[in-house]
Amino acid sequence: MASALAFERVTKRYRNGVVALDDASWSIPIGARTCLLGPNGAGKSTAIRLIEGALRASRGNVTLLGVEPDTPAYADARRRTGVVPQNPGMYADLSTVEYLELVRQLYGRGDVGRLIEAFGLGPHQRTMLAALSGGFRRRLLLAAALLSEPEILLLDEPTVGLDPVAAHEVHELLSEAMKGRTTLLCTHNLAEAEALCDDVVILRAGRVLLHEPLAALRGRVAPRLRLRARQGAGPLVAALRRRGLAVEVEADAAVVNVDGRRAAPELLRDLLGQGLDVYESVPLEPSLEQLFLDVVQA
């Protein structure tokens, strides 16, 4: 399948000697919705800047729609890409409609009026960008990124710093905007990644730790079962340990690494037979946060 974005053995060393990406290779096929995850300093924003063409790789190749940034065809590839930057400064002397008009002219296409209406920016179209609230700033940035109907969407921490209501509104706009578009979502917010993406790339210290579909990632983690008994966690944990199971205690519950659907019936019969009144048995879906911590801390 053709790649929308590709990093081939890319190293980015800044002038101060910091290595943001270290021999990193990964690619995103056309149509994929991929999340770029990693702790602070992992190289996520550097990756976005390399794709934008704002930075040059120290070594290796970055391509956007098969085109390298230094080639003449890159300008066209760039016009097919919308970017939501991470928390940029806002002009105090350009209004919403003037900024979107600038974006339209530079992309060479787009309907400013339609986007203003679709993103609820109508009451603020004459407002200077610096006077917009955090939520409306993100709406504006998203509207600007989508104005030219791009094939690729690069989202760099699109909800960072927003209150929960504004973040929820932006999520709804994002899930609509991402339909049918190749998307790279760079985020710290694991719930956001889980809700919006299908694939995950995890970076740490500039290296790619993992790149696979979210479903496959879940499959790599041992299934877990949460149990609660009327007698409390103590007797339950003791009984489980006698069976040789590794147990984690969560408040009044015990969590064991067993496949709930297969092993739970036999395990429950045994526990009930020992006189433990088990009233809850829940197979746990591994959260992306757990998966992320497992991978990053491994």
Binding site: Y14, R15, R49, E52, G53, A54, L55, R56, A75, R78, R79, T81, V83, V84, P85, Q86, P88, G89, M90, Y91, A92, D93, L94, E98, Y99, L102, V103, Q105, L106, Y107, L141, A144, A145
Partner: protein, 246 residues
């Protein structure tokens, strides 16, 4: 001709400059003083009194020999004022358009758009150049007209003074590219401007005093263009998005 993206960005820069009262006021007041308010009384005085230059061994520097009356104004004092103004206006505009964009991180908005750094900077430099010309040339024209009306110099002689004005504006605009590399905030920009301009003004004064006759204006123009050329070459050699975004 000018790239389409540069034209679009130039429109943005000019619109923003037009709305920046601080930039416009500071870019207009000093030229108003140096090109109109201060020179006119000097011109009137020099027309009536000989320039009192002490005699020096060997007659002194060529630029001061046989310099009397209105010539001292047209060939020495006014070109120096004109050079100072031509240097100052673009530097003030650059502080607003280039450094403020960097300081307030609004550059990130432009980086997200399909434009190259070179296009962003060319648009900014053109807007600085245009502002420099729009502010200084009309003020120069006021004084030049008065000089010609008073019969202190011919229109052709005053037109020659446009050479240091135009080249100073170009030189200062080119130096703005170095400002882009060196200044990360408004205060640093003012300090860097001082560091960059002081030597240029010393060179200008040296040429005006050291070269005789009208040729001094052409030599000064050539020197300013050369300095501007070096600044552009140095800036183009070193500037990258990475340096500008730092």
């Amino acid at each position: 001709m000018i790239d389409r993206s540069v034209q679009i960005l130039l429109g943005k820069e000019l619109r923003q400059l037009g709305r920046s009262r601080g930039a416009l006021v500071s870019a207009t007041l000093l030229p108003l003083l140096l090109l109109v308010v201060v020179p006119i009384p000097q011109l009137v005085t020099l027309r009536n009194l000989p320039l009192d230059i002490p005699s020096m061994p060997g007659g002194g520097p060529p630029g001061l020999q046989s310099l009397r009356g209105a010539d001292a104004f047209v060939l020495l004092l006014y070109p120096l004022f004109v050079t100072i103004c031509g240097m100052i206006v673009p530097s003030l505009a650059a502080s607003y358009t280039i450094v403020t964009e960097r300081e307030r991180r609004t550059l990130e908005l432009l980086v997200a758009l399909p434009v190259r750094l070179s296009q962003i900077l060319v648009a900014k430099l053109l807007s600085i150049l245009i502002l420099g010309i729009v502010v200084t040339v009309p003020l120069f024209a006021v004084t030049a007209t008065l000089v010609v009306i008073l019969g202190a110099a011919s229109a052709a002689e005053m037109a020659l003074v446009l050479v240091p004005l135009g080249t100073a504006v170009v030189c200062s605009t080119c130096l703005s590219l170095l400002l882009t590399l060196l200044a990360r905030d408004f205060r640093t920009a003012n300090n860097v401007n001082g560091v960059l301009f002081f030597p240029v003004l010393i060179v200008a004064a040296g040429i005006l005093v050291g070269v005789g006759g009208s040729a001094r204006l052409l030599v000064l123009g050539a020197a300013l263009l050369a300095i501007g050329g070096v600044a552009i070459l140095a800036g183009a050699r070193w500037i990258t998005f990475e340096r500008y975004l730092e």
